[in-house]
Symmetry: C2
Subunit: 526 residues, 2 copies
Amino acid sequence: MRLVVCFLSLLAVFGPAECGNVLVWFTEGSHWINLKIVLEALIDRGHDVTVLVPDASLFMQAKESDRFSYQPFNVSLSAQDVEDSFEDFLHFSMYEMEHLNLLQIHIKFYQLFSKDLDLSLKYCDGVLKSSELMDKLQHGKFDVMLTDPIYPCSEAVAEKLNIPFIYTLRFSIAHTFERLCGQMPAPPSFVPGVMSKLTDKMSFTERIINMLFYVSQDALAISLWKKIDNYYTEYFGRPTSFCEMMGKADIWLIRTYWDFEFPRPFLPNIKFVGGLHCTPAKPLPKDVEEFVQSSGDDGIVVFSLGSMIDKLDKDRSNMIASALAQIPQKVLWRYGGEKPDTLGENTRIYKWIPQNDLLGHPKTRAFITHGGTNGIYEAIYHGVPMVGIPLFADQPDNLAHMKAKGAAVVMDFNRMQIQDLVDGLNAVINDPSYKENAMRLSRIHHDRPVKPLDESVFWIEFVMRNKGAKHLRVEAHNLTWYQYHCLDVFAFLITILTVVLYIFFKMCKYLIMCCCFRSKRKSKKE
Amino acid sequence: MRLVVCFLSLLAVFGPAECGNVLVWFTEGSHWINLKIVLEALIDRGHDVTVLVPDASLFMQAKESDRFSYQPFNVSLSAQDVEDSFEDFLHFSMYEMEHLNLLQIHIKFYQLFSKDLDLSLKYCDGVLKSSELMDKLQHGKFDVMLTDPIYPCSEAVAEKLNIPFIYTLRFSIAHTFERLCGQMPAPPSFVPGVMSKLTDKMSFTERIINMLFYVSQDALAISLWKKIDNYYTEYFGRPTSFCEMMGKADIWLIRTYWDFEFPRPFLPNIKFVGGLHCTPAKPLPKDVEEFVQSSGDDGIVVFSLGSMIDKLDKDRSNMIASALAQIPQKVLWRYGGEKPDTLGENTRIYKWIPQNDLLGHPKTRAFITHGGTNGIYEAIYHGVPMVGIPLFADQPDNLAHMKAKGAAVVMDFNRMQIQDLVDGLNAVINDPSYKENAMRLSRIHHDRPVKPLDESVFWIEFVMRNKGAKHLRVEAHNLTWYQYHCLDVFAFLITILTVVLYIFFKMCKYLIMCCCFRSKRKSKKE
């Protein structure tokens, strides 16, 4: 029966192919939310999907879907340890960071990442060092491994199982993964490092900042990766580099597109599949629809700070509620905290909102967002202008993109006052340029030859069909850094040129001396 | 009626869109053969296509199809002048070049290209300086201009008409167009210059050769383009750079793909659509099919030196015929010269052959080809191994690609002997690796999310729908060369570092001196 489903479903989109076994490395948070969409699509097309889930996971629960085969593994961590680590990041990004200088931020980030990496390596232990589990995986005859590289070790599992692997990646800071390991060129003069909050149009000072950002992030990454290098070297019993192993990925599915990204160089095995989770809006629940319709011509504002932030402190929630009370639109606010005292009559609080369906509603005028990529892509998909309140991770950078493209205004979470939020909302709702730009991005998003989810599925199946995609892998992987930049060639050519010039000048000098000597002798004789 | 055709045909592939007016710049030879396929597809989808044709054209004749609107223009040249220029190139590449050293080749190429450019600028005169024609084009309300940039001036016409334009490009020597004008990164360490005959796996010496090839070709191109700069500057009445104007192209449709290319970096507005002209094989004419079937299990060999070379000198044709007579396969040879005396019974000469249908025939064992891209792509499409006899232009380089990918052996046209050709044919027919590699390339060719012709049409229509594709254009276009390479940033940082180090050492010196002075005074006192 499975074979029939497989055959029919594959035929429907790209013609006949074989159904396969997909192994999926665990991930967390919005990364998992996005990855699930691809896995569901693979299952719809008849493939078997097995997801590795640690017993200490915040987001991946076996209960979520019985369509995947979950393969649990043990880690010497509790879910609380993971949550604590995440809370440390959050607290630092949202509250501490702004009081520190650049060097202090850098040191603190190193400490946080280093601690996080120690936790990650315990997950590696849970899989790689469990001979029972590795045996089981070996016998699972997987065709491909799909993995979000924010947690390491999937590449080592793929190497051990001798199967090709595909990354699905939102970002690495300053593109360190893609540049240093994937060999993607990214000239710092017009490719702003992810998290730098810069755009592709940089002043001289900004280009200096971007360059220093690249250099500092590279140094940070390389020093952190040493831990993984040592882990891999010990595990495989031979000198093994994490970054080199990452470079073996057959395909990099990047979860953005040119509606969001500034145009930049890339490689044949990098595919931009941003917005793959977006779908047309479905009808709203009756009570929500009634509230939306009650907004009349003013329309509604949708407000969410994402799946990670459920509550705010009292002052901040009161400040935001006061601002929302001042606009003529009705507001739907996804919020898990106490009802703010200043909540206006136009604002309703919900524990959960059908965000995509609301953004796709014709009455929606604006989206107040923390700037997570999933939410931004839903806004782009439906052409809704944004008011950004970025909190942590890539959110400030994401919103810098939307601001540069004229589809958002951005607030400072720690400094914004009531009037700032009111002004921001009035701007994106009443200045038509924001809506026009959001609609332009929406057109770019929709107007592409293959839908992003179909493209993701295509390349995963391509790797399964062809046992990899080595024909897309640049030869740069086999060059040293000085060979890549032709420094050895330059050194050779400069040496040759110097020698030739030296001999030339020596000969000239000799000839001049000869002439002088002769003319002297001649004049002496005379 | 046209609107109905348009609506229905557009709906069939990519959903609804508006039909548009496409203006096409003239081109010649195999470039025109390939371009016509795209134009036919555009007409099938209901667009109006107007092709500019000079009265001195070798290939583009109004008779060819009445589906296009031909817009003739006058040039102060005869078809003979064009043919003579082409013959000069051909003769030099095929017979003279091998007797010259690198510097002489370089000088001769400069002279040939310079002469050719003078002819090309006469075509520009024919369009740009004919106010009557320019007025007519202005009133034609074109949505996009489609052009193969081997002949300049299309970009100036598009600028004058204020319409977006798209390049369809097979290659420029050492990627000069794409790199210098399109801002495509191409590190010489692993991106071999087109026409260098190098692969992506280069030894130290080869990397030196590649670097020198890039530098010399850049110098050649830049000095040649000065002529066009002057022409444009005079025409527009303001300083105008040909290369900068090329950089305004919205999309670059490159007529290759990763079945042929070595993987290398590219940009969001570069689309690889190689093999768009390939189609499944149709049944052969009855007499040809009978001859093919008479080959039994040995099968057939298809032989053509392309649309440009119809005849060979007697010695060479006899040599080739002798070699062909020695293989057990039947041979179908497209040849317009006299029947060679040594022609074997297994070989039949045809003025014209249905090349694609023959290459797609199950009895075909090998393809003897001059290595034109169109022919190579037909062989890739059908998975046929090749014996290459490259003659001129990109042919030696194309075949170097096929050889590196294990799907061809390559002969030297001027030096090959009977046994070389026999050995070459026996190798590709009897060593299974050649067939396997040809089939591997064929799989890569077919296994992509969008067919190349559909992808070409999609991006042409995208530009028409959206009045350009500026969201895919990298900011590198607005940087100087030293900004692009961050040389100003490096200079600044090095200066700062030097000043800081200088002050630091000065202070150290001062402190040491102070200490010494104190201790001396102390000891003096004591």
